[in-house]
């Protein structure tokens, strides 16, 4: 457990040592602020539903930049050998790295809690719906991070990792737009595959077992594939 936490701490502090992470943090929060202002100004509602949807859209573009180096950089500079020849299990390595980037993401989302405070000061929002929305955006971000980590474990090139991650996230995010071209079971499949419908439930204040299973199984599959990928290091 302490070895796992060492990796988590190292990963989290690595984010704060990198100017890229600060740029991402500041830029993202700045863009979230703009969306928040525009949406609140337009809707005049004590709700963050529109803000959460804008955040989701932003995460599709943001997460691959955050995750591209997780394993790709370790492979490129050879530090993966330090981890893989230390008495750590592959599961500890994958979970340590994942929890490290998830902690950074949680801090980033945590900064936006100020929106809830602002909305609560100027209106009478439904606290449960706000909490549910934040839970939704957090778990969706956690899923996106797992996808990004997985693609990062496939290559030693960070750009390739980011592009592959974009490709997968675009499919899961934008597939809802192509639903009209499908009928019957295919339509249901495309709808279920898309993150849009699942987050919609969360931001409306509805937390269903199906949505939790969707995100958590997505995270689990990505972590397992990442573990398999780092085990298969013949060509590293």
């Amino acid at each position: 457990m302490s070895q796992l936490m060492s990796i988590v701490r190292k990963e989290l502090s690595a984010h704060f040592k990198s100017p890229v992470a600060y740029i991402i943090l500041v830029l993202t929060v700045a863009i979230f602020n703009i969306f928040f202002y525009m949406i609140i100004e337009q809707d005049r509602e004590a709700s963050l539903k529109g803000v959460f949807q804008a955040m989701e859209f932003m995460l599709v573009f943001l997460v691959p930049i955050l995750t591209m180096k997780i394993f790709a950089e370790e492979k490129a500079v050879g530090t993966i050998e330090l981890l893989m020849t230390s008495p750590l299990t592959n599961t500890q390595i994958v979970l340590g790295k994942y929890l490290g980037v998830l902690a950074f993401f949680t801090i980033m989302i945590g900064v936006t809690l100020v929106y809830a405070v602002i909305v609560a000061c100027w209106g009478d929002p439904d606290g449960k719906v706000l909490a549910s929305g934040y839970a939704g955006i957090w778990i969706e971000g956690a899923f996106f991070l797992a996808v990004g980590m997985m693609t990062s474990s496939w290559t030693r090139n960070q750009i390739v990792a980011a592009i592959t991650s974009y490709a997968i996230l675009f499919v899961v995010y934008f597939s809802i737009s192509f639903m009209k071209y499908f009928n019957g079971p295919a339509e249901v499949l495309v709808r279920q595959l898309s993150t849009w419908a699942h987050l919609e439930n969360f931001v409306s204040g509805v937390i269903t077992a199906g949505d939790i299973v969707y995100y958590s199984s997505g995270i689990a599959v990505c972590c397992v594939v990442t573990r398999m990928s780092i085990e298969n290091r013949i060509k590293d």
Binding site: S2, S6, V77, G78, E81, L82, T85, S86, P87
Partner: protein, 247 residues
């Protein structure tokens, strides 16, 4: 301490290491020689359980690398050819991290840290970011991470590669100091290094061990050295020129 029996490793259909068998006893310092691509790094990676074997058995301290990799990793200190350094970390933070992932207890960690900083002569740069250090210092930090958990076995893959003569001397002196009570397998292209550090030599060619002998015996074979024996360079060249292998 290290035993390999017919160890073979394939990458796709190509054998990188083929039927390698040798035994290194506790406290032995063994020099590992071979041309680039001969299989030195692959064999070292097998011994550190970074690569699985395709067939054969490798035992470290009596434990099979295929079955007890986590236990074995606690007993081994490994310096890969490119030191595995996080350039944005300070030397102290990096070594603390290396100690943590090797399972060194928090109570022991500071003692070990102070010891390796002193042993590797890097106390003066402990607060510096690794990326800002000279190559010689980086190499010493790499060695420090390999010994921070006080392993019984040290596997060093070309520890002086790419260093200037002064840095080579510093790293070589450091390795000489580490020999006590440790089994060391050291690969290098600098033959004089082997002569100064090792007592026994393994030479690998195209994935097969072609020489496994005491350095003293190898140097006694007839050659052009002033003593009438051979230089290690001659031994190495002869081993690579003769069709069947050595000497």
């Amino acid at each position: 301490m290290i035993i390999t029996r017919r160890v073979t490793k394939y990458f796709s259909d190509t054998p990188a290491v083929k039927d390698v068998s040798f035994e290194i006893r506790p406290g032995e310092i063994v020099g590992f020689l071979g041309q680039n691509g001969a299989g030195k790094t692959t064999l070292m990676r097998i011994l550190t359980s970074y690569f699985p074997v395709s067939s054969g058995t490798a035992l470290i301290a009596g434990l099979d690398v295929s079955k007890h990799s986590l236990l074995i990793r606690q007993k081994i200190g490994y310096l890969p050819e490119t030191p595995p350094l996080y350039m944005d970390m300070t030397v102290k933070d990096y070594l603390r991290f290396a100690a943590d992932i090797r399972g060194v207890s928090v109570r022991q960690r500071q003692v070990r840290l102070d010891r390796v900083l002193e042993e590797c002569q890097i106390s003066d740069v402990q607060g510096k970011v690794i990326g800002a250090l000279s190559k010689g210092y980086k190499q010493r930090v790499g060695i420090a991470q390999a010994i921070i958990h006080e392993p019984q076995i040290l596997i060093l893959d070309e520890p002086t590669s790419g260093l200037d003569p002064i840095q080579i001397l510093q790293v070589r002196t450091l390795i000489k100091g580490l020999r006590q009570e440790r089994t060391v397998l050291l690969s290098t292209h600098i033959l004089s290094e082997i002569e100064q550090i090792a007592r026994r030599v393994l030479i690998i060619r195209a994935g097969r061990i072609i020489v496994d002998a005491l350095l003293e015996d190898l140097l006694k074979t007839p050659g052009t050295a002033p003593s009438g024996g051979s230089t290690l360079e001659e031994v190495f060249i002869r081993a690579h020129q003769s069709p069947g292998g050595p000497l």
